[in-house]
């Protein structure tokens, strides 16, 4: 009997961290050992796949027997043998390890365009991509389509820049095509710096060829012959897989001279960033490729006119490029209909924080925040209450519970005081302090400010000092007003996007969670019990069993007491690390 068996092991950064490599190696070992080809004369192989998005359940493993797919969750190397013997050899799935309905719910409500092949194909093998129709769009664009034709399709599809600003991609390409120059560049911005965002990483790791294919199509449409993919230093796996993908393309003549046998040539290189958030800004990114400090410049020209080395340059985000091959193959109408009137298609979000199902989520634009967090994300972790959702990273804002029905698109999120941004979506629960959150983001932008313009360099520093004062119990009357005044000035007068949006996390939390600021300033109290200087830990004598767990974990030796009698915390010595609070099984430690 001939059986076709494929085993797919999730090997994105999340999968690898949870032990994906060991799991895959074990499957491969079992296949070789069992001499399966001879035994049941079936075709069996195990392969790695990129991130399928559901990182909280890693390592995920698919066992596909004659096209029937079964998914397992939380697989460890020592579980492989049983799956192999019972399922692969004898055909009976191991029921207790199945991913179950939660896995299906997570995926059923999504519409996968960009992520359609992530988690399905082997990202290190170009043939795996070609087998699902890969490079057909590029071939069509290069061999059969005129540049104007490609530009028109992208314009009609209503695709907007997925990096966050939402500039219509077709218009950018049209300008790139119109400007005449002997040298033009196409750049892919893979400097995904927003903390809490990992869509681009997953695409570069899980489906690197889709990005390259999108860039080839863009190169043809704008008539440019060289390109760069700028990847952050923090994504070594993405760099490795893109590098492999480029080499494979060169061998197949999909990149290089006279690609696909045409008279069009396109040369593509990777440039690895060196760790600077501001390099996600287009002009700063181009200075970085030139080997300089990545400082933004005033936008006197569009990049499409004067960009890298002062040559016309079209720069798009990873996700934007990954959409392009699908639009060329399925048509502009198909893509436009997926989204709202003003923005076509889907958007990938990285859902993380205090939500049950963390991972990547691809949804049509126009879906509500509630649907993403509750229907796909499965609600709040540990039965806690929802407090806010932070979108758009350090440039975005916090959206409170009363606005959960806000539609997700560029304009609605901006009206709610946040931004769509690159797609980070961090869920905050009742145990999150909003002043601390605002301080966290400002610490980030202040450290990453390049220092070129004064409002950003000095303004964010002063705002941060005020927030530090408030969270350490030294807040004064008038601090809130001062924060607002400074924030508005920085927004109005900064040179680049980093400064213009730096105050957003503070301004949006001030708008929706002003009472928390007031509690910190007037009552010297942190309602969520997070800010270290404002909380104390005390042992409730009636509940303490004297087990000594807290004493053992205390790094400051601040807990006194003998076994089986109530313990006590020495407030002078306590460093408020919270270890005792976590260690106590009897909830005898009070944190206020």
């Amino acid at each position: 009997m001939e059986k076709n068996i494929i085993i797919k092991v999730c090997m994105g950064t999340g999968g690898v961290a949870s032990g994906g490599e060991e799991v895959l190696a074990k499957f491969r070992e079992m296949i070789t050992e069992s001499n399966l080809n001879a035994k049941i004369s079936s075709n069996c192989h195990a392969q790695k796949v990129g991130c399928r998005g559901f990182c909280s359940k890693d390592v995920l493993v698919d066992v596909i027997v004659d096209d029937v797919k079964t998914t397992y969750k939380h697989i460890k190397p020592d579980m492989v043998e049983r799956i192999f013997n019972e399922h692969v050899i004898n055909g009976v799935p191991v029921n207790e390890w199945l991913a179950g309905p939660e896995y299906n719910n997570f995926h059923d409500k999504q519409t996968k365009v960009v992520l359609s092949h992530c988690g399905d194909i082997d990202p290190e093998d170009i043939d795996s991509y070609i087998a699902v129709g890969g490079y057909n769009a590029a071939k069509k664009a290069v061999l059969e389509m005129a540049p104007e034709e490609i530009v028109n399709i992208i314009k009609n599809s209503n695709l907007r820049g997925r990096g966050g600003a939402g500039f219509p991609t077709g218009l950018k390409w049209e300008l790139g095509l119109r400007i005449k120059s002997d040298v033009k560049y196409v750049i892919c911005n893979g400097d995904e710096g927003d903390p809490g965002a990992f869509m681009d990483r997953s695409v570069m790791e899980g489906d690197p060829h889709s990005v390259i294919e999108g860039m080839i199509i863009c190169a043809k449409a704008t008539q440019s012959n060289s390109g760069y993919i700028y990847v952050r230093a923090e994504y070594p796996l993405a760099v490795k897989r893109l590098q492999m993908a480029i080499e494979q393309c060169l061998m197949k003549n999909f990149l290089g001279n006279n690609i696909f046998g045409s008279d069009f040539s396109f040369d593509l290189k990777i440039f690895q960033g060196a760790g600077a958030f501001v390099c996600g800004e287009a002009t700063a990114l181009m200075r970085s490729i030139e080997g300089k400090r990545g400082m933004p410049s005033p936008k006197l020209w569009r990049s499409a006119e004067r960009g890298l080395w002062d040559k016309p340059t079209v720069l798009n985000n990873v996700e934007t490029f990954a959409n392009v091959p699908k639009i060329i193959l399925n048509g502009a109408n198909w893509y436009r209909k997926l989204g709202t009137e003003r923005s076509g298609g889907t958007k990938v979000f990285s859902l993380s924080g205090k939500v049950r199902n963390t991972g990547l989520v691809e949804v049509p634009l126009g879906i509500s925040l509630r649907e993403i967090i509750y229907d796909i994300g499965g609600g709040i972790e540990g039965g806690k209450n929802f407090k806010a959702v932070q979108t758009g990273g350090p440039s975005g804002g916090c959206i409170p519970a009363e606005l959960l029905d806000t539609e997700v698109d560029y304009e609605s999120l901006a009206r709610a005081g946040s931004i769509m941004g690159s797609g980070g979506m961090v869920v905050l629960d009742e145990n999150t302090c909003m002043v601390n959150t605002a301080k966290f983001f400002l610490e980030f932008t202040q450290a990453e400010s390049c220092g070129k313009c004064t409002p950003c360099r000095i303004g964010t520093k002063r705002m941060l000092e005020i927030l530090e004062r408030i969270t350490s119990g030294k807040g004064k009357d008038g601090d809130i007003e001062l924060l607002e005044e400074l924030g508005n000035h920085i927004r109005a007068t900064s040179l680049c996007g980093l400064g213009m949006t730096a105050a957003n996390p503070v301004l949006s939390t001030l708008k929706y969670f002003r009472d928390e600021y007031i509690a910190h300033i007037k009552e010297k109290r942190c309602p969520a019990a997070v800010c270290r200087d404002l909380i104390t830990f005390t042992i409730i004598e009636e509940l303490c069993k004297g087990c000594g767990s807290c004493k053992r974990v205390c790094p400051a030796d601040a807990i006194r007491g003998t076994r089986k009698s109530p313990h006590r915390i020495d407030k002078e010595l306590c460093i408020k690390c919270g270890s005792c609070f976590d260690a106590c099984k009897f909830k005898a430690i009070l944190k206020v």
């Binding site: 961290a17 760790g275 990545g294 993380s352 999150t432």
Partner: protein, 152 residues
């Protein structure tokens, strides 16, 4: 040292590199950017050393001081922050006796660093121990890992 620098210079010429790629190669080979290396290149390429310094201090990937043998990187992304990464750093510095404002232990055995976000938010809080990603980190797990390294 000179041999290594010559090799880096060769790849610089072959791949039409720039200051950033040179510094990346120096960092890869020496673990930090030694002053001598910069001066050597400044002379060879006739580029002022100040330009190297300007670039090296701009990007967080470059380190001017020698770093520890073992590098523990704590992710400070938003998801990791709300799941308690700040506590991990505080405890690490306490455990390894690293003074405030410093990153490396005096015996050069450990360096504790922060990274903005490594994009593994689904398994927050995340820590890299000598470049291996560890998800869902707790203080207990971290202390165990440190003990393991110390005893090696």
């Amino acid at each position: 040292m000179e041999e290594t620098l010559k090799k880096i210079l060769k790849t610089y010429h072959e791949n039409s590199g720039n200051i950033i790629t040179i510094l990346q190669d120096i960092e890869k080979n020496f673990g930090h950017i030694p002053e001598e290396a910069v001066n050597w290149f400044a002379k060879k390429l006739d580029i002022p050393a100040s330009r190297f310094y300007g670039v090296a201090t701009f990007y967080s990937q470059f380190h001017l001081k020698p770093r520890g043998k073992n590098i523990i990187t704590v992710c400070r992304g938003t998801a990791c922050h709300v799941k308690g990464s700040e506590r991990l750093i505080n405890r690490l510095c306490l455990e390894l006796d690293i003074p405030e404002g410093e990153e490396t232990t005096s015996d050069l055995k450990f360096t504790v660093e922060k990274v903005n976000c490594i994009g593994a938010c689904g398994i927050a809080p995340v820590t890299l121990i000598n470049n291996t990603v560890h998800g869902r980190m707790t203080i207990d797990k971290l202390i165990k890992e440190i003990k393991k390294i110390k005893s090696e």
